[in-house]
């Protein structure tokens, strides 16, 4: 791909000549000339500039009035004078700031933004030192909790519209809006309903004043008494780059840390607010060993290590590991080596097991935005599995890309579980007219993004075959969404530690020992079943749970904020997680190193020195070995009475989120999504209570009618689907 020729223009800013590509924004042009123009509302990531705050007023040669620099672009011969050299601009800017401060409460000593507030900083640097406002300032009720996680102070708001532009033009949730007009404008939600959206927390970072603040951070810390540690979120397979703010050894908030190829500086509410799980009441704090008839007993690490080593040694090589997929590569590698090299075991449950062929089509997530056409396959909503990917897809659509979604709620409607079959049809140029047309456009386009969000065990291989058959070249990318945050890294660590594939837990024979690594694995019903066949079970987990009934030794686990190590995200990018706070006990790696000593496997008790930069780069593409052949796709089980149930795993779920009270409102309501036609046939409207079940037994859920959902299909979040089969009958209660 050859870069298009760039036309350079010469612009004069405050007497300094600078050459920039034609069309560069004036704020950036001035910066290139070494001149800072202060701004509030300007934020290129929010789309086109709006010129709302007027802070960037400048004098432009040939224009009689002062201009908002943020709305101008560089043209050849332009002469711009900022407030630093133009008295007229300085006067204008001063007046603007005086106006902005007219009703601003100046409660900086009381305000959490104080010390890191653009309004405060710019007023100090550029603003008037006093006010001529003698009238009482406007007051509002405050703070208003616009959601359990965000507080709004309307007195401090300067109406820059950054937050509403985010809601409308980035996350597209359209929930936070500016109501009324002119001086009466206020930022609000509808009817005081909570701002409930996966990305709502970003408005607290966008707000240039103390109007929108995270409720969890109110009166918690001051900028001069905190530490910000660069790390990587460990809650979904995107791996957004973050800052973790700590004060006195406690995490107080999480902020985004812009990695332009991964997250573009956005962070979902799960990544932002889940940190409170560190302080959950039911955290395990010391190792527990089961004592016959007396239940569990807290023991020291020496006893625990001895007990674990004994149990594993007695297993005689019949050892399996159940991974969570959230472990660091170092942790997973330690476990894998312990079992494969130290004990001669060869079995693991891997949450993700992607075929390495996908790496032949590796590309940064940001390439989605530049695609001409995007294809999204699979039943699992992208927003629930890897939310940032959904933002990239929206950005692509806004930039003019066609986004084809194939699935039960897609623009091309297919039955549940048919991603594999559809991909085979697309690759072979078959299928419905709609699909054939889409396939043709995918072949014609030079920049394609394919997102695969399903749970088929061989989705990686199928996705790679599809990408190969569509001829995806440079500039195109394939993104198979793993189900766990570091599923790719864990699988890689497992395979590097020895020969052989993963493990099929469906057998019947007795197992010598089972290692349950982390809470996700401990919650997995398949793992619980496996544990019944194991003579010895060793579990690590942060929290108490059912597994504390069936494990023999339980060691306290750490959160991703409490350990050092490497994680591999869905792109295949290795990133570094840093220990932000110390865990209240040994971390897993230290414990495994001690077990390793007992079993004769040398394991380093810490992650190697950072081999990954703060902004990790993506490794080059792998070579595609002979494109894998297509196995015929298993036909989906479409037949059955009633509606076919699609169960998805919501983003706001899992052991961490479930322990954070302020995120309870984000968890899916007890609701079942129904297709329009099915709802009509049953006389059901959105909001009705319906009975969902089969053969008379059923439960009451709220109905949500969706026009996009395929008739014959109902969709439900996993936590409300417990005990429901693959097909259900839905009747109005």
């Amino acid at each position: 791909m050859s870069a298009p020729a760039v036309e350079l223009v010469t612009v004069n800013v405050d007497g300094r000549e600078v050459q920039v590509p034609k069309g560069t924004g004036m704020i950036e042009t001035a910066l290139a000339a070494g001149v800072e123009i202060p701004v509030f509302c300007y934020e290129p990531r929010l789309g086109p500039p709006v010129g709302a705050c007027r802070m960037c007023l400048c004098e432009v040669e040939g224009m009689p009035k002062l201009q908002a620099a943020c709305t101008l672009t560089a043209q050849d011969g332009m002469e711009l004078r900022s407030a630093q050299t133009s008295a007229k601009a300085a006067e204008g800017q001063n007046a603007v700031l005086e106006f902005i401060l007219l009703n601003h409460p100046l409660d900086c000593p009381d305000c959490d933004k104080g010390g890191e507030c653009p309004l405060q900083d710019l007023t100090f640097r550029w603003g008037p030192s006093n006010t001529r406002m003698h009238f009482p300032k406007r007051t509002f009720e405050k703070p208003i909790p616009i959601s359990p996680t965000i507080s709004l102070d309307r007195e401090r708001c300067i109406l820059c519209y950054r937050c509403t532009r985010f809601s409308e033009g980035v996350s597209e949730d359209l929930q936070l809006v500016a109501a009324h007009r002119g001086a009466q404008s206020i930022i609000t939600t509808f009817e005081e309903e909570p701002y409930r959206a996966h990305f709502s927390g970003n408005v607290t970072e966008l707000c240039p004043v103390g109007a929108l603040l995270p409720s969890t951070y109110r009166f918690r810390a001051r900028p001069w008494e905190i530490d910000n540690t660069p790390t990587v979120c460990g809650l979904c397979p995107v791996g957004c780059n973050t800052w973790a703010t700590t004060r006195e050894g406690k995490v107080q908030r999480i902020l985004s840390r812009n990695h332009p190829e991964v997250d573009d500086g956005w962070l979902c509410d799960k990544g932002r607010f889940t940190f409170d799980h560190l302080r959950a009441e039911d955290r395990l704090r010391e190792p527990l060993v089961r004592v016959r008839r007396r239940g569990f007993e807290a023991v020291g690490y020496d006893d625990a290590v001895r007990e674990v080593a004994r149990g594993l040694r007695e297993a005689g090589g019949s050892v399996a590991i159940a991974f969570s997929g959230g472990e660091t590569v170092e942790q997973a590698s330690a476990l894998a080596r312990l079992v494969r090299q130290g004990l001669g075991g060869d079995a693991a449950i891997l949450p993700d097991d992607l075929d390495p062929a996908v790496d032949a089509f590796r590309a940064p997530l940001s390439a989605i935005r530049d695609a001409e056409i995007c294809l999204v396959l699979g039943d699992e909503p992208v927003m629930e599995r890897a939310p940032i990917v959904d933002l990239w897809l929206r950005a692509a659509r806004r930039a003019g890309a066609e986004v084809v979604t194939v699935g039960p709620a897609g623009s091309v409607s297919t039955p549940p579980g048919s991603a594999a079959a559809t991909s085979a049809e697309l690759a072979g140029g078959g299928g419905s007219d709609e699909l054939r047309d889409a396939g043709r456009r995918l072949r014609e386009a030079s920049r394609v993004a394919i997102v695969w969000s399903g749970d088929d065990h061989d989705s990686g291989r199928r996705a790679a075959t599809l990408a190969a058959s569509l001829g995806l070249g440079d500039g195109s990318g394939l993104y198979v969404l793993p189900r766990s945050p570091n599923g790719r890294g864990v699988a890689q660590a497992w395979y590097e530690a020895g020969e052989g594939r993963g493990f099929d837990p469906s057998g019947e024979e007795e197992l010598g020992a089972l290692i349950v690594s982390g809470d996700e694995a401990a919650y997995d019903p398949r793992v619980a079943q496996l544990a019944e066949r194991a003579r010895f079970v060793f579990a690590t987990s942060m929290f108490t749970g059912d597994h504390t009934l069936w494990a023999h030794v339980v060691a306290p686990g750490t959160s991703y904020l409490e350990r050092d190590g490497t994680v591999v995200n869905l792109e295949g990018r290795a990133q570094r997680q840093r220990r932000v706070v110390d865990p209240p006990h040994l971390d897993e790696l230290e414990l495994l190193a001690r077990v390793g000593t007992e079993l004769g496997v040398p394991i380093a008790p810490w992650a190697a020195e950072a081999t990954v930069d703060d902004h990790a780069e993506l490794a080059p593409r792998a070579q595609l070995e002979a494109p894998p052949e297509f196995a015929p796709a298993a036909s989906t089980n479409g037949a059955g009475p009633g509606l076919e149930l699609v169960v998805y795993r919501p983003l706001f779920s899992g052991p961490g989120v479930e322990r954070v009270e302020s995120l309870a409102f984000q968890r899916p309501a007890p609701e079942i999504e129904l297709a329009h036609a099915d709802a009509q046939a049953r006389g059901i409207a959105t909001g009705d209570t319906v009975t969902v079940g089969l053969n008379g037994s059923g439960r009451a859920l709220r109905a949500a009618v969706r026009r996009k959902l395929r008739p014959g299909v109902a969709r439900i979040a996993a936590e409300h689907a417990d005990g429901l089969g693959s097909h259900v009958e839905v009747t109005k209660a």
Partner: protein, 139 residues
């Protein structure tokens, strides 16, 4: 916006349910519809009377005595600008430019204009509307 007008014609104003219905029909959110509806004075977020009387108080009309006209309406109807009479018959508002500067003061009754209105005309207008004639429900 036409959808909001349709909803307002149906309900007489825009209650939250109406905004929800418009949002669902257009695949938008109620918040977005509320933002639009609250921006424009011709959408009502509270119930209004059968007759909506809008008195232009912008520059031209103000120079021609619009404040007196408004005060006369307030006296005659017994409500302040922005209010609705207790019998639900009249809503009175002070309006920005109605675009009839040449015929100041302009008073719109259900968006049908009356021109060159003076304070002295007000009792007559109110009496006429109370009599139920010439209401202009078709506006």
């Amino acid at each position: 916006m036409p959808a909001l007008h349709l909803a307002q014609d149906r309900y007489g104003w825009l209650p939250p349910e109406a905004l929800r219905e418009v949002a669902e029909a257009l695949d938008l959110t109620p918040a977005y519809c509320y933002a639009v509806a609250s921006f424009y004075d011709m959408y009502h977020l509270e119930p209004v009377g059968r007759y909506e009387i809008a008195v232009c108080t912008n520059v031209s009309c103000a120079l021609a005595g619009a404040q007196d006209v408004l005060a006369a309406f307030e006296r005659e109807l017994g409500v302040q600008a922005g209010g609705t009479t207790e019998d639900g018959e009249f809503s009175l508002s002070s309006f920005e430019c109605l675009g009839g500067c040449g015929w100041a003061t302009v008073v719109a009754v259900n968006w049908r204009y009356r021109e060159h209105v003076t304070a002295g005309d007000v009792p007559g207008i109110v009496a006429e509307l109370r009599g139920g004639e010439g209401a202009g429900d078709d506006a």
